[in-house]
Symmetry: C2
Subunit: 250 residues, 2 copies
DNA sequence: CGACGTGTTGAGTGTGATCAACATCTGTGG
DNA sequence: CCACAGATGTTGATCACACTCAACACGTCG
């Protein structure tokens, strides 16, 4: 694709739709002005498309502006582990500044709109806007927390607990950025993806979802999930339903 | 413990023993001077002691100067998941700047010496030393990579692959900071800890280690592990034996 | 219409969990 | 010096959670 698929911006940073979300902290005027110049354009990746690929260098940094994506690693023989689901406000590609090539892939689950930043200018951001640099660290640190929880699930929770945990977790994250509400989330992915995120087989994931449905906790439909008993799911999963702190946006 | 167990430094930053390691990048003179003032003292935690506890706030930031520690989460019913093993050069407690209380615990496995930093001054570091701020991000990002690999193990690798992966991984990390060599690592922890890191039961971990020993790949002794066939282990684990890039030290 | 993607269900299998007993080793107190 | 307790590691027997294989249902799209 010419120019890596980067096209002019449709959303100017001061009018960024995410700024309306109470989930994110507000920018100071000079920060916003910097972000505006930092942002090189946008990129739209259709559902199923690849944003960055394991083993390749990534020229850009991205932020998810709209849509769902996932970050995953693959083993030689095709086994796949989804590491995180990415929602609007998620920063992509920072690891490319640490390693020469990406150690994971990112794939669009729905059609995804990305803000594109030039990796080379990240250093300018660190030099001139320590507050934004701090925000980058903040986001990375939060990412690590998500992984911690995930790892605990895969290591020490049973299938039904894992599924409950993931569903509650995704529902709440989606709700905060306006992609879910009223006990219903659109999930632009399949049970196979849930399985790959939870370290389970497709069949067992399916049976576990059915068992949760039989217990009146949720209902899975292709492309969406109804949360029938949020507290019940949270209790089963050992998930703490506290309100998250407002977070920075890059 | 009075003053949180913080005592005067024994190691002045310019003479930091870790700076001799080829694993770490060198400081510029002004960076080193800043680090010297940033460092508040040292803290020694005896084997088995707690550095920070899940659910509590952590006043300080730490860097492991010497010894082994681990980061873990606990579930209500006592199930425990070790998230990462910490070796010299590892930064501890950054998440405390993102969340109000720690979401994980850190425990000393051997006697551990920590450099103590005042969390409040982290902001000064960001303002005055963008290069060091960048290093903090670098370290956090690397941490995330370690978690990614771990998560992939727990989700998609069999017991023998997991064990092989962990052993190779720990051996190489220890080697780089001078805590292992000549196909031998001192492991100041038990098979129970290995089990808690890999999401396996103690018994199964033991049997898996025995099977690897029978295949001539390694030999476990209390307190240490001999690597009999590094390449064989790496092959089994799908571990890529490339030399890591030099990394920053905070 | 058939092909394909997704979800559903049953049958049989196996990896890894649990339970239980025992072997070592170390440190401690008598 | 020995007896004992506790921590760690080892091994066998049994169990069960989750995997694999296989078939089918249902929708959408060409």
């Amino acid at each position: 694709m010419e120019n890596g698929g980067v096209r002019p911006r449709r959303h100017d940073c001061p009018e960024c739709p995410l700024l309306d979300c109470r989930a994110f902290r507000k920018f100071a005027p000079d920060e916003l002005e910097f972000m505006r110049r930092f942002k090189k354009g946008e990129r739209i990746v259709p559902a199923g498309g690849t944003v960055v690929r394991e083993g390749e260098a990534s020229e850009h940094l991205y932020t998810v502006l709209d849509g769902w994506a996932c970050r995953f690693k693959s083993l030689e023989d095709g086994r796949r582990q989804i590491l995180t689901f990415l929602l609007p406000g998620h920063l992509i590609g920072l690891q490319g500044s640490v390693m020469d090539v990406m150690q994971h892939s990112v794939e669009a689950l729905s059609d995804v709109t990305l803000c594109v930043f030039n990796r080379n200018e990240l250093w300018t951001l660190y030099e001139r806007f320590p507050s934004l640099a701090y925000d980058v660290t903040w986001l990375t640190s939060r990412d690590e927390m998500l992984l911690d929880e995930n790892l605990t699930s895969l290591g020490r929770r049973h299938a039904s607990e894992r599924v409950a945990f993931l569903i509650v977790h995704l529902y709440r994250r989606a709700e905060i950025v306006g992609l879910a509400g009223d006990h219903r989330v659109e999930f632009p992915f399949t049970q196979q993806d849930v399985a790959d995120a939870l370290g389970l087989s497709l069949v067992h994931t399916n049976k576990t979802l059915k068992r949760l449905a039989d217990r009146g906790l949720l209902r899975w439909r292709s492309g969406a999930c109804e949360i029938l008993d949020l507290e019940g799911l949270a209790r089963l999963a050992g998930y703490d339903l506290v309100d998250p702190l407002p977070r920075p946006l890059i």
